[in-house]
């Protein structure tokens, strides 16, 4: 196998005395869709934040396209090809739909022009074409999720980190979001997906890691995990202890 696009080695994060992440190692290969599943508070969001250096890692290393990141500024990662769509989507509500997309395009201009990239977006999400001049914050949650995903269409990252895309969406919108994520997968974008909705995530990804109280406790092919009764037990997880408490989600 060629070198992974993104690789974490023994990554650990502490919030004060609370250890949110305790030595996680994972990798995302070229054209690979990988998911991290786990209960609320298991450290999934912290893991993504550590990968994009939004929180400092207390130990461990992250390699992106073969280079050690070593605390590279978060805003530079977006330029270098690591796009992180955070929990709550990270859409800029006071900017128009078009401005949100332009921001995502300008940070990493590609060979194709912005208008070509826009056509691509509107082909995937015709609804956004009607709303292009509208303030992003005035749209429904589902439409904002479309916009959040569209940023990856214009940005064309080497790896997309996406946090709980199904959160707060209607079942129909969840389907819509995953339709687009599948399209990204077919196009060969490497994806690291964090998701509470285990069944949806495992049906989507090639491989999966199970995170529990800040540790990766299981990993494997999605199909194998899907038929493993252990996974459901881990996912349901029982009561979360204080070390992996709610605050570190």
């Amino acid at each position: 196998m060629s070198e992974p696009v993104l690789q974490a080695q023994d990554l650990a994060v502490s919030y004060g005395p609370v250890q949110a992440l305790r030595g996680c190692s994972l990798h995302v290969g070229e054209r690979e869709a990988v998911t991290v599943i786990g209960a609320n508070g298991a450290g999934k969001t912290t893991l993504l934040r550590a990968l994009s250096n939004m929180v400092p890692a207390s130990s461990g290393a992250v390699r992106f396209r073969g280079a050690e990141l070593g605390g590279r500024a978060t805003h530079r990662l977006a330029r270098d090809g690591m796009l992180h769509v955070p929990e709550g989507r990270g859409v800029l509500g006071t900017l128009s739909v078009l401005e949100n997309l332009r921001l995502a395009y300008d940070v990493r201009p590609s060979a194709r022009s912005f208008s070509v990239a826009l056509d691509d977006v509107f082909a995937c999400f015709p609804r956004l074409a009607e709303r292009r001049q509208q303030k992003a914050g005035s749209m429904s949650g589902g439409e904002q999720q479309m916009l959040a995903l569209s940023r990856a269409i214009v940005n064309q990252p080497d790896v997309l980190l996406i946090d709980e895309p199904s959160l707060g969406l209607s079942p129909r919108m969840v389907k819509e979001a995953y339709r687009i994520l599948r399209l990204f997968k077919e196009r060969g974008m490497a994806i690291l997906l964090v998701e509470q909705n285990v069944r949806v995530a495992l049906n989507f990804a090639h491989r999966a890691y199970v995170l529990r109280q800040g540790r990766i406790v299981m990993e494997g092919e999605s199909a194998a995990l899907l038929s493993d009764p252990e996974v459901m037990r881990h996912y349901l997880g029982g009561p979360v202890d204080s070390a992996g408490g709610e605050a570190v989600s």
Binding site: S52, M54, A73, T74, H75, R76, L77, A78, R79, L83, H84, V85, P86, G90, V91, L92, G93, T94, L95, E99, R102, L103, A104, D106, V107, R108, R151
Partner: protein, 294 residues
């Protein structure tokens, strides 16, 4: 003549607006008040005056004040704002900037003395003008007005149409989301401080030209009024700063016209009390959103 006072009020108001824009721009982006702003404005008058005294043309004095006050703004950002990033650090940053402002006043008084210093504009420049429909227009005043309006229009275009403006609005909206979209928040903060302070510096020179002198207490009087104008217009709202500035300028002009000069100086504060009672977020303010609106 009432028309004269209206013209004077608009000119004064446009200078208030220029200073208030700086307050509101910084507040919109960083969510913090920059109390050094009014003293950077004050310094602008002295910088322009000194260059003019050295024989530089008026326009060059304006440019020099723009650059030097802009750079001073970068310094204020570095010492009083860079480190204090948390939302709970608002008071820390404001206190620190207040201290920087007081130091600036002290240094100005050490160097230029505490008495006003006059700006020796040639008499013909101060008086040349024309009368139109009974109203006397002075070229210098009109020039000042035209220039401030042009700067405001330029700022509007910058914020609403350019990539830098988009980044400024993105950070004002949500610094974390902006960072994830590749926006360099530090760079945006610096740009914001440079623009805000440079405009204040220009306002300082223009006011010195208009009144004929620079004085070190102008930050506390004129500068603080601009802070009130931000409150009246709506914190973070550029239109609010412009409308508020013109409104207050007009009010003061009219107060003088009707022999209420005593009221003129306090008009802005009374206006702010009433506006905030009726609209706590200011005329154009939005009570929930932290952003920059052009």
């Amino acid at each position: 003549m009432i028309a004269d006072q209206i013209v004077n009020g608009v000119i004064l108001g446009s200078m208030y607006a220029l200073v208030a824009l700086g307050y509101t721009l910084v507040f919109g982006v960083l969510d913090k008040l920059n109390f050094a702003h009014s003293e950077v404005f004050m310094l602008g008058g002295y910088v322009g005056l000194s260059w003019f005294a050295l024989g530089a043309p008026l326009w060059a004095s304006v440019v020099v004040a723009f650059v030097i006050c802009g750079l001073l703004g970068l310094f204020v950002e570095l010492v009083s704002f860079r480190k204090f990033t948390g939302r709970d650090a608002q008071i820390t940053a404001s206190l620190s900037s207040l201290a920087v402002g007081i130091v600036i006043v002290d240094l100005v008084q050490k160097h230029w003395g505490s008495e006003p210093v006059s700006l020796p504009l040639p008499v013909e420049l101060r008086t040349a003008g024309f009368t139109f429909m009974g109203v006397t227009f002075n070229w210098l005043k009109l020039g000042i007005l035209g220039f401030t309006l042009a700067l405001m229009a330029g700022l509007h275009v910058l914020v609403s149409r350019t990539a830098l403006g988009r980044n400024i609005r993105a950070v004002a909206d949500n610094p974390t989301s902006a960072t994830l979209m590749g926006v360099d928040v530090k760079r945006v903060n610096q740009s914001t401080f440079f623009i805000a302070s440079a405009l204040a510096g220009v306002a300082g020179v223009l006011l010195a030209m208009r009144t004929g002198f620079a004085t070190s207490d102008i930050g506390l009087s004129f500068g603080l009024k601009a802070l009130a104008i931000m409150g009246i217009g709506g914190m973070g709202d550029l239109r609010g700063a412009v409308v508020g500035g013109l409104l207050v300028g007009l009010l003061e002009g009219l107060a003088f016209q009707f022999g209420l000069g005593r009221i003129a100086d306090i008009a802005v504060w009374i206006l702010m009390i009433f506006v905030l009672l009726v609209r706590p977020a200011g005329l154009f303010g939005n009570a929930t959103a932290r952003d920059v609106r052009a």
